[in-house]
Symmetry: D2
Subunit: 331 residues, 4 copies
């Protein structure tokens, strides 16, 4: 039995809390902390956990085996560091931080603690994307990732999001690394436009973006993003190689097709967003973490994966600003 402390009682925290509860008898939600005590109490109450008055109390509790960090991004590094020092296993939502310097410092500070740290790149656990990765298309030549959100987050969030590449595309950078395996991405070109929300222009951010990356093998990767797809959360992966092509398509809540005087084969809009689309992934992600902790092995998606995805996001940002292809330096 793994006892969890949950830091962060927002939407994603609530999801993780429910998954921990559903993982019984392997896991138990022990306590919940949030800046907003009412939010923490609500989730705690729902799952028979207690609300923690602060982080330190939770970390000091020897009954706590693991922490799940689902608080705002700017608290991640501090919570990771403190939790690692307290010897707790860590499952932290992406990104580690927006500032690569802070990430590097965090890496140095927790080196030697030996605690398992997993970064919440949930798409790695999606069954369809996973099946694409396992497919044999021969030598990989082209990888195309389509990743479009159903709608923009609120402006206050966008202001502290770190921009589209570090906030949204970072999932796609990680997915590309996951599919490419040992074939390192060496070069990044990126560009973007502000076509959906004009207010982003003042923030120097974009809502529509395209990326091309080149891997060591010569394989080419394309990512395209939009912050607004009116037909739902569009998440597709296409892998092309010497032997053929494999695609993972979108999910819908039913298999129904309608035919009338105006259209045929019409399906319902795509599942709306990540909570629905990646429901299975979130559950499997947690179970993989629990398994790593229980078996004292390193998690499948580690701190360095979080660091490398951020490095790619930074390269994309630099490329968009300079108009040049950027060589990636993983340090």
């Amino acid at each position: 039995m793994i006892n969890f402390a949950l830091f962060g009682a927002g939407r994603i925290g609530a999801l993780h809390a429910a998954n921990i509860a559903a993982s019984h008898p392997r896991a138990r939600l022990s306590c919940v902390y949030d800046l907003n005590p009412a939010a923490a109490a609500a989730i705690a109450g729902k799952h028979g956990a207690k609300a923690s008055p602060n982080v330190d109390a939770a970390l000091a509790d020897p009954a706590i085996d693991a922490v799940l960090i689902a608080s705002s991004t700017n608290t991640h590094v501090e919570l990771i560091t403190a939790s690692a020092r307290a010897g707790k296993a860590i499952l932290c939502e992406k990104p580690i931080d927006l500032d690569i310097e802070l990430v590097e410092r965090c890496r140095r500070e927790i080196s030697g603690t030996g605690v398992p740290i997993q970064i919440g790149f949930n798409r790695r656990y999606d069954r369809s994307h996973g099946a694409v990765r396992e497919s044999d298309v021969g030598a990989l030549e082209l990888l195309v990732i389509t990743s479009r959100d159903p709608g923009l987050p609120p402006l206050p969030y966008l202001k502290v999001s770190g921009g589209i590449f570090r906030d949204m595309t970072i999932h796609d950078f990680d997915l590309a690394r996951f599919i490419l395996r040992d074939d390192a991405i060496e070069e990044v070109f990126a560009t973007g436009s502000t076509l959906v929300e004009p207010a982003l222009r003042e923030l120097g951010d974009v809502d529509t973006a395209m990326v091309i990356m080149r891997a060591a093998s010569g394989a080419l990767v394309h990512i395209n993003n939009s912050r607004r797809a009116v037909y739902g959360y569009d998440q597709r992966v296409e892998l092309f190689g010497a032997k053929g092509m494999v695609q993972s398509e979108n999910l819908r809540s039913s298999t129904v097709k309608r035919h009338d005087a105006r259209a045929t084969d019409a399906k319902e809009p795509l599942l709306n967003f990540f909570i629905e689309r990646y429901q299975q992934s979130y559950a499997d992600e947690l179970n993989d973490f629990i398994d790593a902790v229980a078996n004292e092995r390193q998690p499948s998606v580690g701190f360095d994966d979080g660091r490398c995805a951020l490095i790619l996001a930074n390269a994309a940002l630099e490329s968009m600003r300079s108009g040049k292809s950027v060589r990636v330096n993983y340090g």
Copy 2:
């Protein structure tokens, strides 16, 4: 070069005329006859043919090699008989006639003339239905034919149509025989409802029908029909056997898929009707006939195919009236 006389200058006659013209240099439309001289003249003029004042003149012309009979059903038997006696090769639209007695008599009368006679079961030439037939599904167990027209023909036509089984389902009966090859249909059950056009009730006809047939091997066949599918002309075949299933799907005029806030993967309505849907089939049907004539071989779809399809249609009608499964007697 095969010189054709066309009997019947309606919609289907015009189609065949254009296909004959497109078959050059293998075929030529020499003359056109229709009860309505203006209609004959229009088609003749378009393709550099002459209008015939009557059938006899056309049949007496030694330059004519073949006749294409696209006139109304009640003239087929007479035209077949006269053309066969005149030694012309014959391509006749389905059905041969609505009355099996007349068909049998026609068969006797033309026996011995040795002219090639082909019945216009165009679906046998559809590339997709054909690929289904050629597929290896192991021992055939289930065959499901979905066949729905986009809309009702006018009432005057319906009154002389012979009813849904002899007018519309007859294509499906033939398609079933084509796919089953040597496995003879032995038993027919059919039923129907008048759900679209109440006036059919007075005619003893239905617009919505279902059929089950059993072949000698035990394979089962289902046909379902409607006279009105608002999304277009719905033509599908599904073959199921010991090794799997093969389906032929509908055609559309483009491959476009639309996604908006209400629907995803929405395609356009199906091609509207037989002229559009079976365009390739009509052309290939004619070319196969030309090939048979040129090479002095029997056509692939013969008089007996027309006769057997009518026998199945009659069995369906008898079954619908009696509520009993009917054993088929091919005579």
Copy 3:
């Protein structure tokens, strides 16, 4: 909190036990009984329940609110009767019994007990079939149900199964009734062949079947069944009416499409069987039952639904034997 006794610790019992456990905090598995005590103990142990030495002990326990009957069909009537007398809410797997006389007697015996009784027609809870039913296709004209199992059950099971119509098609009869709502099925024609397992011939049973039914409105229903679809569990529903068509398609475990030199758009085989295909349905079925019990309302799928589906299955059997369409008498 609803406390359950589970009768029957086979494959389907294990599924229900897990779903009850997952329904916490609304439900709890209290005890499990099976003729095979080891099987009962295994499931009980897994979910923190106790194994019951016999049915009477479970029914005598006032802490038990509901029973879930997942034992062999020939025990259903007795268990329903005893449970109803003990005042327990009942969720019983289909069919109620193979003998309509026993079902009628059971109905009389439990009338007046007022306990909620739900029959396990899981397909009514399938999200896709459900969406089809809710769709507006205008006046319903044609309903086509394709229902094919991936493989035959063992012969010993088949010997006591009651034949394909009462064992397998019964789900489709119920689904047709569900979709037709108040439009009663009045007439049944059925036929079948033994094409997969020759041993069935001696049992007078078939493994391949087709049914046509007519509803009061004139709407026509087709069902086709096979006991062996090598590509997986094939479960489709097609609804056709004055305004268009709606179809529910099969489920697969991922959305992957493969393209190579031999094929394009190739997806994986269908989910193998009911446990996987109707996972969501089984969970929702149980939750609907729990909701009915908790809110003291009648279950959505009642005893009479089980009775009527059996009447249709019997009519199909009679039709197959007589070669005639059978008028349905619901008594």
Copy 4:
């Protein structure tokens, strides 16, 4: 009636000759010239035309209304210039030339002749791509063009092809311009790899490429190419905007879907190459040209479209070499 002289009797010349013949009575193939007299004679003989001993003879013939230039690329400019001076309407295969200087000079030399000149960008006439272009997706934000050939042309051809961007991607550059309408492409980034045919490395050419372009509106365009798709000629267009997405999918020769123990929904490989895939486009392209000549209007796809596509291809080449995004200068 438009009388054509055909220059070039290779594969694509033969296609055009057949289309001219099929366009009767609007067009006639009068003469054919090729460096290889036997090739010219073969096509001429097939369609009742005569073989020309040289270009000048054909251009001097006042009965010739139009020329169709399907010879090797390095002869295009000279033939266009001579034909324009001779007052013939011109339909010339893409590209005009590989050297933008020659193209500019040609433009100057033929200015003032006023003859209709159409460039053979056949994809503009594809019904599905065309329907995509006509679709209302709101303000256009993303355009993704997937364009992969089934296999490499022979090395001797590749050596004089001008490289992937000017030989193959040039179709996609034109298609992007066609879909973007008045929204000019201002910036191009491109990269490529040699993953299929190592010999291309010595030619400084690639066989696998990705492009990102930015239009004046901020709309982003992605193109990905491969010279080898083992599943057939992969030609897709995806248009994404404020109101939704529209895609044009690939064509196959039938609609058949196969299901067996290994795969479901498996379709046949895509049509193999441009002659098959764009059959309808080639016919419509010719008919549009004939219509322009007959009605004395400017062709829909003009000389400047050929020039602009070459400018984009050159920008892509420069970008691939420099690693920088290139501003497009249309001169």
